[in-house]
Amino acid sequence: MSSTPNVTSKTPTSVVSGKTKARMTAILSVIIGFYLWSSFETDSFITNFDAEFWTNTWNMVIQLFPPNWNYAQVVWPKLIETIHMAIIATTIAAILCIPLSLLAANNIVTSKFLYNIVKAFLNILRTIPDIILAVIFVGLFGIGVFPGILALIIFSLGILAKLISETIEAIDNNPLEAIRASGGNTLQVIWYAVVPQILPQFVSFTLYVFEINIRASVVLGLVGAGGIGLLLQQQINFLAYQNVFTLIVIVFVVVVIIDYISNKLREGLL
């Protein structure tokens, strides 16, 4: 070795600068501080995990077993209803989200005003919990599948439009420039440069939302918006946990199948 390192006062002794260190410490303290506060407010203490907690949990969990397969036959019709609801809601949301997400992408829309309006609208849409949407639509249209579908549409539209518009914002802008430079107008730019780039993500996000919709309908049924959740609520009310578990397993299998199919589709597209 030609030069032995000479330790001087200028020699750094840490991997980050002092300023960064201080900032990290501050951030960490804030996170932990908040956590302690909310632990306090919600009585979440590690001491709650005492033996009693585990026995009680265990007593509940064993009641789930074994799943009652006889109950499965009751589930089928509602499961199919759930799938139908999810298909319709996802399809409509996917169609509606196209113009919305284009308008909410800052590399497509040059008008800051329009962009902000659409973005704000989508943000508000996303803030509303699915359960409230369902409750309101049930209030408007009466109990049934229809308000459920509406709630799912609005709910998934918010998610989908956000995901897609972020995808659009992240695409390679160079081809857009190339099309623009050869005289294409906005629609042509979208069709030739944006659509091919986002198509795989569009499909995969749509399938993702489809999965979310299936899961969400488990919740919606609680307030009378159709689907499999209605059964969940009833079985919980009868304290029939084996049936509940059957239901959960069935939903799980459906979701896994959807996951599988969507992976295959994604592979085919990319």
């Binding site: 909310s38 979440s44 203490f45 709650n48 007593n59 969990v61 139908h84 979701v255």
Partner: protein, 268 residues
């Protein structure tokens, strides 16, 4: 210049068959859906006069929130926030080991890998409401039951997202560390964690946003939060109060959205 037309594109018959099958199944799926959904939805009822009067009755009330209940609603909203925060933070940490297990570039064992993915999937499928029920039974009807339900459920989703982040890291960096003789744990701390931490944080914050919304449902079974209020005011047809709840949720969640977007931008 003589003009030649390009040759017709060759398509392999296998691909054609595949496309054909996919198209047919899609069409069939939609036919089936629309035909059967027509039986379920009673269109004449959905678009009855009653619906119109419902609109007249409900919508104006929704838009004139009952400000008197602000205090009550806000109190429950704050509780909801605390539940969501404690739950997401718990999940943000506990999801990490599962994520590494499920990431195919970290655990080369296909069996363990699939196992990890299945665990995460299964956890995600368990409805929050059922989890909350179990925890209410275990520790009583309080916010902590909600925290556990939200936390456990979130592990499923965060674990999945985390594992995708891990799968997308720059493995060249890992290779570079390997090349200078670092062992596995050193690689983890020097090569992998710095790459994933900002995304992890960002997803955790994102999950917090979702959890705020998700924890609204917990109140139904007494696990805290704003859910009880929602159900009761709807059952009492107190749409003004529903309007107030809606307003509070929109405002609070929007503020959180902005804050978290701001923080996430600074992290990455």
């Amino acid at each position: 210049m003589e003009m030649n037309m390009p040759p017709k594109p060759k398509r392999s018959s296998k691909k054609l068959v595949k496309r054909f099958i996919i198209s047919i199944s899609l069409v069939a799926l939609y036919l089936w859906t629309f035909l059967s959904i027509n039986d379920i939805i009673k269109w004449d009822r959905v678009f009855s006069e009653r619906t119109i009067t419902n609109f007249d009755r409900v919508i104006p009330k929704l838009f004139s929130p009952d400000y008197a209940s602000f205090g009550k609603v806000m109190e429950k909203m704050v509780e909801t926030l605390f539940i969501a925060y404690a739950g997401s933070l718990m999940a943000a940490i506990l999801a990490v080991p599962f994520a590494f297990l499920a990431a195919s570039n970290m655990v080369r064992n296909k069996f363990l890998n699939t196992l990890g993915k299945w665990i995460l999937n299964a956890v995600r499928t368990f409805p929050e409401i059922m989890l909350a029920l179990i925890f209410v039974a275990a520790i009583g009807p309080n916010a902590f039951a909600g925290v556990l339900a939200i936390g456990l459920h979130s592990i499923g989703m965060l674990g999945k997202l985390y594992s995708e982040v891990i799968e997308s890291i720059d493995m060249h960096v890992v290779e570079a560390m390997e090349a200078n003789g670092a062992n596995k744990i050193q690689i983890l701390f020097y090569g992998i964690i710095p790459q994933v931490i900002p995304e992890f944080l960002s997803y955790a914050i994102y999950r917090f946003e979702i959890d705020v919304r998700a924890s609204t449902i917990l109140g139904i079974i007494g696990a805290g939060g704003i859910g009880t209020l929602i159900v009761i005011s709807v059952a009492n047809r107190n749409w003004n109060e529903v309007g107030m709840i809606l307003l509070v949720i929109i405002v609070v969640v929007t503020i959180i959205d902005y804050l978290s977007a701001f923080i996430r931008k600074r992290i990455v």
